[in-house]
Subunit: 260 residues, 2 copies
């Protein structure tokens, strides 16, 4: 039975626990995705090692979005609890000091005790970059998909509207994707072109696994008149993954922002 | 003594020789600079292997600028002679097919017989990128210098004017730099800021080895009031390399354009 002293220390420790949220940017090229996997280099694995060094016991991290292998982030959000009360800017420097150069904590803030980066997320924004030139830009090898077929940008914007709103996106995710519902709402799609670089930005309440990359693949096929079904509307309705074709490659995708 | 037949073939071959100029983009991160060096991976070495495959004899390449290790190019120009008469767009594809992804031929054109990428160059434009944020941008590790001290952009633009015009730039190059003259003319300096990214663009009739990187280092020191001499004007006049301080690191520099 613990002594009074021990129990008081226990209480003291519990009271000092502080919840933090950090914004994380990373180049996902050299990582096997966000989520921890034994024996593989993952963002979570490397970040956990960095944060664990600040504490005497392992820290549990919660990420807003579990990005896949090769996918990047400019505004990933992570929440975790620390025993020590850290000044946020000191915390940024302390974690960054333990991280490799291709992962950076951009900012940190104290958060309410019940804050959870994933469960509390109200919206997310992803950007997908396509390099639509005959010759690939050697500076975008890690950050864009080299797509050679001519793209009609106005038609693309028009075609993308079919994805807006609330739909069952079963056709746009992996068949083994275990989620309660595959209904998601896309609130905004913006498509911009700067010379050969086309950026497709998707905002919504959340995205299924591979959803953004599959939507980009579908849009490119639709633009070339190569959909396996009459229209994107019919594809959504079919809920048939096989009709959606191959998802666009990982390197073009970046998690830009998470809203709470 | 060669037969008439041999001499005719010789003439025929000589007449078919065609001069080409190509525009080259490369990420210099993984290369020991442009110029060929035995046992090292250089842009020239890799490009020469790619071009040699098109011919039965080795091809001599002339580059507009010999970029240093880690320096990039968006518009390097190379000239060379081929025995075959290649359609320029076929030539682009043929060379790119033999090159790694981080070096790309952007375009090719037939050039006058006496065209020489270096000797005929009338002007060059270099860009230097500085990331002036507390936390480095992980996407610019290979393409910008992380400089943490506060930069006063208006003062920087003003200070940069001292470099404009025709000067002996001996203080801004390596002491063993063997050139006929160290007098160069800088025609334009433009400094732009987009959030934490500062781009310094220098145009001139030519630049000495390390000149752009040394100018950037000098401008940053001047901006902090840390020059080893009263002013940039006095530094130029001193022609003393030791007073200029350390050149800015290679990864921020890109050869953007060559004018003829």
């Amino acid at each position: 039975m613990p002594s009074l002293q021990r129990r008081l220390e226990g209480n003291k420790t519990r009271q000092q626990t502080v919840k933090y949220r950090i914004t994380l940017a990373y180049d996902g090229t050299d990582y096997s995705g966000f989520q921890f996997q034994t024996g593989l280099k993952t963002i979570q694995g490397v970040l956990n090692s960095a944060v664990d060094k600040l504490e005497s016991a392992p820290v549990t991290l919660h990420a807003a979005g579990r990005t896949d292998a090769g996918v990047h982030a400019e505004g990933q959000v992570i929440s975790f609890q620390l025993n020590g009360d850290w000044d946020p800017s000191t915390l940024v420097r302390a974690i960054n000091g333990n991280l490799p150069d291709d992962i950076r904590v951009l900012d940190a803030a104290r958060a309410p005790e019940d804050f959870h980066a994933r469960f509390n997320a109200k919206g997310k924004t992803y950007r997908y970059q396509v390099w639509n030139g005959e010759v690939m830009n050697p500076f975008l090898l890690r950050h864009a998909w080299h797509y050679r077929y001519a793209i009609d940008i106005e038609k693309l914007s028009e075609q993308s509207r079919a994805l807006l709103g609330t739909h069952d996106f079963s056709a746009f995710t992996v068949s083994d994707c275990e989620v309660r519902t595959r209904i998601r709402t896309i609130t905004r799609i913006s498509i911009e072109q700067q010379n050969s670089l086309i950026s497709l930005v998707f905002s919504g309440d959340g995205f299924l696994r591979y959803q953004v990359r599959t939507m980009v693949g579908v849009l490119m096929n639709a633009n070339r008149g190569r959909l396996k079904i009459n229209s994107i509307e019919e594809l959504i309705e079919s809920r048939d993954r096989k009709l959606a074709g191959t998802p666009a490659p990982a390197q073009g995708l970046t998690l830009m922002k998470v809203e709470y």
